[in-house]
């Protein structure tokens, strides 16, 4: 199942990645090869095998509901590009 340059461009746009047509062409080729591998796996009959959502057979660790993280706003905001009145500032977004 080859992936097209247009599909790569679409995914790149969704992920906000800048990509010129030559790069899209290149990645289309690379991604198609990965999908070919998946195609091969698809030929195996997996009837009755539960799908895996995680590569390790680990169960989620659950923590107790306790607050152990405290306010370190000033430290975090020192490394932010812009902050004011305790708010992080970003280029204007209007819905």
């Amino acid at each position: 199942m080859p992936i097209t340059r247009e599909q790569v461009a679409h995914i790149a746009r969704l992920a906000r990645l800048a990509m010129d047509p030559a790069e899209a062409e290149f990645h289309a080729g690379q991604l198609s090869r990965i999908l070919e591998l998946v195609e091969q796996m698809n030929r195996i009959d997996t009837t009755g095998v539960a799908p895996m959502s995680h590569p390790q057979d680990a169960a989620l660790r659950l923590r107790d509901d306790r607050v152990t993280e405290h306010n370190r706003r000033d430290q975090y905001q020192r490394i932010a590009p812009a902050a004011e009145h305790g708010l992080y500032l970003v280029p204007r977004v209007i819905e």
Binding site: H10, R13, L14, A15, R16, S53, H54, P55, Q56, A58, A59, L60, R61, L62, R63, D64, D65, R66, V67, T68, E69, H70, N71, R72, R73, Y76, Q77, A82, E84, H85, G86, L87, Y88, L89, V90, P91, R92, V93, I94, E95
Partner: protein
């Protein structure tokens, strides 16, 4: 051509903020109203290298909801990343659940004009809340507060079983009451603890296939859910009857203009590219965990309603109102348990004068200046005939204003009911003397003036005379003098 009869088809997605101390995947404080970003820890602001660690309490509260609606609890559920770009979501994805949610299908019964109706719940899944964007004047920039980011949400998705805006509102009320009963959320809609999106479509009555739907976002009050859906249903009908077609889109309800309008379409906004979050292995819940949650379930609203009906011999209508909110039902139970208080009288006062006063002041029952003990005293004074029901309203108003305890007010204002025969007789004689014309009319058989004369006696005693005694004595005197 006969006009088409349209049927609305509505499904709701209700987001409920779960009442945990810490966030769902991070150990910083949840809670409303803190200084901006003081509760936004390294994970909340998505500093590289931070990893999510799941809060067991969020799972516990979700399971509590699932058990309450008779849903399947999934022993195995998966967290997925839902991708979209918005600055109040700094990771670039929201951790949610997609294919395998924690709670599977269940159901909930609502009261409709046509009687009880079962609404199927498709699923309920856990996810993290986003932060908040403030578009105020910040040198043309947008301010971001990430305190709310990571607050646990339970998204409860209903099937498209609702057939009117009123049913949708009834369902939302039921969800609201239930999450408060279960104590899994404070359900505060003003603070955004409970938010609702509605999927709306219409179809000709009798048609099986669904029409094209639109999604209404962020409806944050019971009143607006009904108005927004009503507007949207009407808009669909008008478009379709005008020969047009409904465009599948997301719309926002504008409360001021009482209309809905399309959200500026975010390009490819619905291409969320879900996939299992590699940072979080599958969540496994065992029977012991689920049983321990089951053991802590409180009495549920429907069960409580049935118990009130049998225990207190109250009507279905009264019990529905009394049990709609947990605090209200608790208040009623405390009041009805007080010695000398009749359950029916207690229900009447709660649903009448107390509710009216609460509504007038925009207060909730737990904020009532009269706690159940004071209310019980008031009802006891009616029962032991210290005051009449009418005077009780005056005492209630004074107690509400904080003029003191019930007995203090009765004493201070001299409101104790007059039952003494001689005292009432004297007033009756005087009233009869002052109104010879009416007395004459009564004697000629025009008994309608009796009520007027009773009124005069009550007025002369400042409402304190026992009405039954006044009736009895007045009738005796009028009849005696004719005879």
């Amino acid at each position: 051509m006969a006009a088409t009869e349209w049927e609305a088809v509505i499904g709701l997605e209700v987001h409920v903020q779960l009442k945990t101390r810490s966030k769902i995947f991070a150990a910083s404080d949840t809670g409303y109203g803190a200084e901006p970003n003081t509760r936004a820890c390294a994970f909340s602001i998505a500093l590289p290298g931070t990893l999510p660690v799941m809060n067991v309490e969020a799972a516990r509260l979700a399971v509590r909801f699932g058990l309450a609606v008779g849903a399947r609890i999934n022993r195995h559920s998966v967290f997925a990343r839902k991708h979209y770009f918005y600055p109040d979501l700094p990771k670039g994805y929201q951790i949610s659940q997609y294919e395998q949610p924690i709670i599977g299908s269940g159901e909930m019964e609502i009261d409709t004009a046509a009687g009880p109706k079962v609404i199927r719940i498709t699923r309920a899944h856990l996810e993290e809340d986003a932060g908040k964007s403030l578009h105020e004047d910040l040198h043309g920039m947008t301010g971001i507060d990430l305190n709310r980011a990571g607050t646990p949400l339970l998204e409860i998705v209903s099937e498209a079983d609702l057939r009117s805006a009123a049913e949708a509102a009834a369902y939302l009320r039921k969800v609201h009451a239930l999450v408060r009963y279960l104590d899994i959320s404070d359900g505060n809609m003003q603070e955004g603890s409970l938010r609702c999106d509605a999927n709306v479509s219409v179809r000709p009555a009798g048609q099986k296939a669904f029409g094209t739907r639109t999604e209404l976002k962020n409806i944050n009050s019971f009143r607006f859910v009904e108005k927004a859906i009503d507007f949207e249903v009407q808009r669909h009908i008008e478009v379709l009857e005008g020969g047009g077609a409904i465009v599948q889109e997301t719309r926002l309800y504008d409360a001021e203009g009482d209309q809905t309008r399309p959200m500026r379409s975010k390009e490819e906004a619905h291409d969320y590219r879900y996939f299992p979050d590699p940072d979080l292995p599958a969540m496994r819940l065992d029977d012991a965990f689920i049983d321990s949650v089951r053991a802590e379930l409180p009495e549920l609203p429907d069960a409580r309603k049935r118990r009130f009906q049998s225990q207190f011999a109250l009507s279905a209508e009264d019990t529905a109102q009394l049990t709609a909110e947990r605090e209200f039902a608790d208040y009623f139970e405390a009041l009805a348990a007080a010695p000398g208080v009749d359950a029916k009288t207690a229900a009447n006062w709660l649903l009448g004068d107390l509710t009216a006063a609460l509504n007038k002041h925009g207060m909730r029952i737990e904020q009532s200046p009269l706690p159940p003990a004071h209310m019980a005293q008031l009802l006891q004074r009616i029962a032991d005939r210290t005051i009449s029901g009418k005077i009780a309203k005056e005492v209630f108003a004074a107690a509400w204003r904080g003029e003191g305890g019930v007995d203090d007010i009765i004493a201070a204002r001299g409101l104790k009911q007059v039952t003494d025969r001689a005292e009432i007789e004297a007033v009756v004689e005087r009233v009869a003397g002052d109104h010879p014309q009416q007395v004459e009319q009564y004697r000629q058989g025009r008994h309608k003036v009796f009520g007027f004369l009773v009124g005069q006696v009550m007025k002369a005693t400042g409402g304190k005379a026992n009405p039954a005694r006044v009736n009895e004595i007045l009738r005796e005197i009028l009849n005696r003098e004719t005879g």
